[in-house]
Amino acid sequence: MATTLTCIICPNGCQLTVDDDLNVTGNKCLRGVEYGKQEVTDPRRTVTSTVKIASKQLRVCPVKTNVAIPKNMIFKVMEIVNQTSIVPPVYIGEVIVKDIAGTGADLVSTREVLD
């Protein structure tokens, strides 16, 4: 049976239809095809959040998973995010937790905090 879904790759938000043979229609660009296939076989999301930081300027430092993680791992990843604290300096892209929750993704900083 065909699945309909909203592409989340860009703000266009195309309505995609993916059939049983993983043919994607409704996409305005090729990235929609990739997303449609991925979403019905192995849905993934990038997680963005914050970790505690011992800084004079900020209480929290924004972070993200450097690649998308399986959707069903989001809350496992959040558990670790919420237990993590760091100290400055921290740079954009710096790895904070390697292979977070065994997802293969690294948790990286998205802000530079030098203090």
Partner: protein
């Protein structure tokens, strides 16, 4: 009095981009005045990703996106002052600001770029009936508290308004352990991007109640519950449709308004976007005062804010260097049938203009329509749209040669496509 070539009010995406563009055009004496303790404006609290697809061709979070612009400003040694709140601009371009460091200070500028962003409509603006407990917070305020200060405004949350900030906060608070019980939207359609309905609500099974509004807030000191009701086609609550939710927090995502008081005070005409009327170079009717970004009209993509800042920055540099072409052309623009507002509000054609970029929003979702541009009553451009929605700003470039006159009025309107 201190003198500067260019003073930019606001160090967010529009202001930073304008500063870099003006500098690269040759104006080096620039001062950016920023109200808070960091450059980057609202992007500081937008820690989610999805920024930069147009500007950098990659997906960045807000802080990553803003850092690229801050670096560009710092590489050029462009001056900026933080914690500096601008209180007044005069017609002869004296900017007054207040800061703990400098006290109340005045600067004489040759040109000014207004880039002060927008603010949120709040509880007072929408007048929800019921008690007035704590726990009713705008979505952007909750986002600031959580993402920049590190604390949650509540644990059981309901959201009024389906604007993007509300949707993003639904996901964000869910991730941090709050229970988001639902989102109510007055209109029969969502005001957020489709992708956000999917990844912020559907991903977490958060219900969206279309054609619903909050009809009661209940609680003595802290919010204890809210009541929502379905509304009819004239947005009146329908008796008997009330639903009650036990929540300690109501987030409001009910609209953004250009923070344009300083320019309004100068008597510069206001556009229906609630920003100032500007020409295609982002210049207001006062020569040398420019406006760009969310203070001009509320954008949905920061990439477009940056592009607009660049236009204003380059034009301000040309003005300062005496190169901004004067024009005897004046075409006013008007939002016609189905269109909410049009930017620019005025066009002053010069021989340098190869195209005019129009930005506008429709008033409601429509299918199978033409966007029609007419000059002095004569249509000169029709664009077919399968679907068009208010939450997405439309950008249309019109080649100069389509404008047969340099005087008069351009109306942008929608027209249903006739079905055979």
């Amino acid at each position: 009095m201190e003198r500067r070539d260019l003073v930019i009010i606001g160090g967010g995406s529009a202001g930073l981009s304008a500063a870099v563009a003006a500098y690269d055009k040759g104006v080096k004496d620039i001062l950016i005045l920023e109200r808070i303790a960091f450059l980057g404006g609202i992007l500081n609290q937008c820690i989610h990703n999805g920024f930069g697809l147009h500007e950098f061709n990659e997906e960045l979070t807000g802080p990553e996106f803003l850092t690229r612009f801050v670096k560009q400003v710092e590489e050029r040694h462009i001056d900026y002052k933080l914690n500096a709140f601008v209180t007044d601009i005069s017609k002869d371009k004296v900017v007054t600001y207040s800061s703990a460091e400098d006290g109340v200070t005045q600067i004489q500028a040759k040109a000014i770029i207004m880039a002060a962003g927008c603010y949120e409509r709040n509880a007072g603006a929408i007048g929800i009936p019921g008690d007035r407990p704590s726990g009713v917070v705008t979505a952007g305020q909750a986002q600031l508290f959580l993402n920049d200060y590190g604390y949650m405004v509540g644990k059981r949350v309901f959201i009024l308004g389906s604007g993007d900030i509300g949707l993003i906060m639904a996901r964000r608070m869910t991730l941090e352990g709050a229970k988001v019980l639902g989102v109510a939207e007055l209109m029969p359609y969502s005001n957020g991007l489709n992708r956000n309905i999917q990844q912020c609500l559907k991903d977490f099974d958060i219900p969206l109640y279309l054609s619903h509004t909050v009809t009661k807030t209940i609680g003595r000191s802290r919010l204890e519950a809210i009541e929502i009701s379905e509304v009819d086609s004239s947005f009146r609550p329908i008796k008997g449709t009330e639903k009650r939710f036990e929540v300690d927090t109501l987030l409001l995502s009910v609209g953004l308004i250009p923070n344009n008081g300083l320019l309004d005070n100068l008597g510069i005409p206001q556009s229906r976007s609630r920003g100032s009327v500007v020409n295609q170079k982002m210049e207001t009717e006062i020569e040398g005062i420019f406006s760009c970004g969310n203070v001009l009209h509320v954008h949905d993509l920061v990439d477009y804010v940056v592009a607009e800042g660049r236009v204003a920055g380059e034009a301000a540099a040309e003005y300062i260097e005496g190169k901004l072409k004067k024009s005897d052309s004046l075409i006013l623009t008007e939002a016609g049938e189905g269109v909410g507002y049009v930017v620019p509000g005025r066009i002053e054609l010069t021989d340098e203009d190869e195209k005019i970029t129009f930005k506008f929003r429709v008033r409601k979702p429509m299918k199978n329509v033409y966007i029609v541009f007419s000059l002095n009553g004569i249509p000169f451009k029709k664009i077919y749209k399968q679907a068009i929605i208010p939450s997405e700003m439309e950008i249309v470039n019109i080649p100069r040669n389509l404008l047969v006159s340099n005087q008069g009025k351009i109306v942008v309107s929608t027209e249903p496509k006739e079905v055979k």
